[in-house]
Symmetry: D2
Subunit: 183 residues, 4 copies
């Protein structure tokens, strides 16, 4: 059993790659939603047993892909029974634009966490926002609620900006530390 789970949907592999990099560093378990928006029973158990859950999804049309939303809809019975009350939550999202309405995704992820009675961990990093800042720096996108990633529309999974991957790794490690403090 892992104390931290990253529940992830990835349409083209970018989000999955980032999640894998972050999970490796923190001993988090990856719970991957399938192309039909489903999890198997073992995966549900991994989420139920984890002390913390990180939502990981790209932003499509202003929010998570429908498969991730199908997963969220399937948590409604857990919600009714307060099954995830007091879990620690975080989230990150990738899109091909700098903003790309990723913040609407993050706001929804925070809302989902709140509905489950959760505790949300912010990114906790200042932005790199001077003229010298580049995409190898940590948090050049200037997120606060969670980690933001931007991969150009024509970039492969090997071309995700290094600074953004590092931002996610630092953030997932931070969520892991807060879980330790709370338990």
């Amino acid at each position: 059993m892992s104390k931290l789970a990253i529940v992830v949907f990835s349409g083209y592999g970018h989000t999955l790659k980032i999640a894998e990099a972050a999970a490796a560093d923190t001993d988090a378990v990856l719970v991957e939603i399938d192309a039909n928006g489903d999890l198997d029973e073992d995966q549900w158990q991994q989420l139920n047993e984890a002390k913390g859950i990180i939502f990981a999804a790209p932003t499509y049309m202003g929010n998570v892909p429908w498969q991730f939303k199908k997963f969220a809809d399937a948590t409604s019975s857990i919600w009714a029974q307060r099954g995830w009350q007091n879990k620690v939550f975080g989230g990150f999202s990738n899109s091909s634009s700098m903003n790309g309405d990723k913040q609407v995704t993050l706001i929804w992820m925070q809302t989902l966490a709140s509905q489950h009675g959760g505790i949300w961990v912010s990114l906790g990093l200042l932005p790199a926002n001077t003229k010298e800042a580049d995409r190898n720096d940590v948090n050049t996108l200037g997120g606060s609620a969670g980690a933001l990633v931007q991969t150009p529309a024509d970039a492969s999974v090997n071309e995700i900006p290094r600074g953004d991957i590092e931002t996610v790794k630092i953030y997932v490690a931070r969520v892991s530390e807060i879980i330790d403090k709370l338990n």
Copy 2:
């Protein structure tokens, strides 16, 4: 061809009933998303030809049901070609709580409309917010971006508050008028 389309997903019939009541008054066409989140070709054509589109969906777990999001995801090629640029948009949502995070749904609906280069019509009604206000009044829920409906968790489709249905009807008629002005 109808100038106004209401694209609707309804899990238990409440949202559909409200949409039907509003459509009847304004000669809008109802475009109902099926249980698998799909539309047929005729339905896509109805949306493409309409001058305005109203998003209608309940709020589940802080946003539209996955079937409605699947519809939204399927509009990404229309988005890339600016197929809905300058269409008029509006939205309404029903949930079993007074708030129930319906505003997160509305914010996302506005975001989707913005991505498509749309023009968003607000509700345009003051709230009924005095001590005498009751659920037969128009806009007792105090929405502004779009119309809000609250149907208690144990209420049938025949028990939707009268004032909320009336609010949606007034709003859909308002969107229809704005379309006329713009075209």
Copy 3:
């Protein structure tokens, strides 16, 4: 020194009254923003020393009153120095409508907490959303991110719905417990 501070602005006394009721139960210190949006040095110290901060403000025109925003703007140097990193945060808002765009206020409060590197505590309560629910029940407004209060436009400070006051009290006690767990 109190571990929990409630930083409050109240235009007509309703929000202050609720904050006082909640503070009394939890030994929280009230930090009241004045009519010009200012705090004195002792008040800043109370905030800096607290392990947790609850944002308390009515919703005017879709967000906190300008005085509360002036307070938030004045925290920018604390932000730059990470002075409130890892503090626990929560928030509540009152308005005269059921919704009244209070959720936009809550979203902003969460954003402010995130910018400061904070940890946000959700309400943690299911809604009272059946036909029998009334305004004496806890969380009849159906909030999730924080506590929501609705006081009709013509209601005095003695007519705030009992259930809403109780909701805030339960929430503030919950934030206090999470602080204990984290420290």
Copy 4:
């Protein structure tokens, strides 16, 4: 009388400079909020007479500066009398980070417009989001609800990215066209 007004607050001159550039192209009137958050009577009249209003402000601590919020609070009597009903609205925001929570500002601007019974015009531009995109391109920040501007923390008013200024100019011209269509 100008059909379009840009109501602007600028802390360090960047937002004002952008607003001036956009106003010059469209014959819009600039209504500048003073350092105390106030407008004079002539300025209020300019806003009341305009067919459309664009909100222009930097993002400080997750939303507009308090001076802009003070202006918004002062519109509550106009709100109660539906004085701005059916006006056309838009908005843009500048901050020193790519994201910098500017979307929370935009969401609030949309909410304020909705409370006034307004019609919101989206940006209407696809993002420049390929590997070749740079800050001279239009909409490299990938906004949708309104125009986004990012000026590094150490950049003067003469160093605002050219593409962002161009984005605002195109957007303001677009809002002006929609006003013509509606009137």
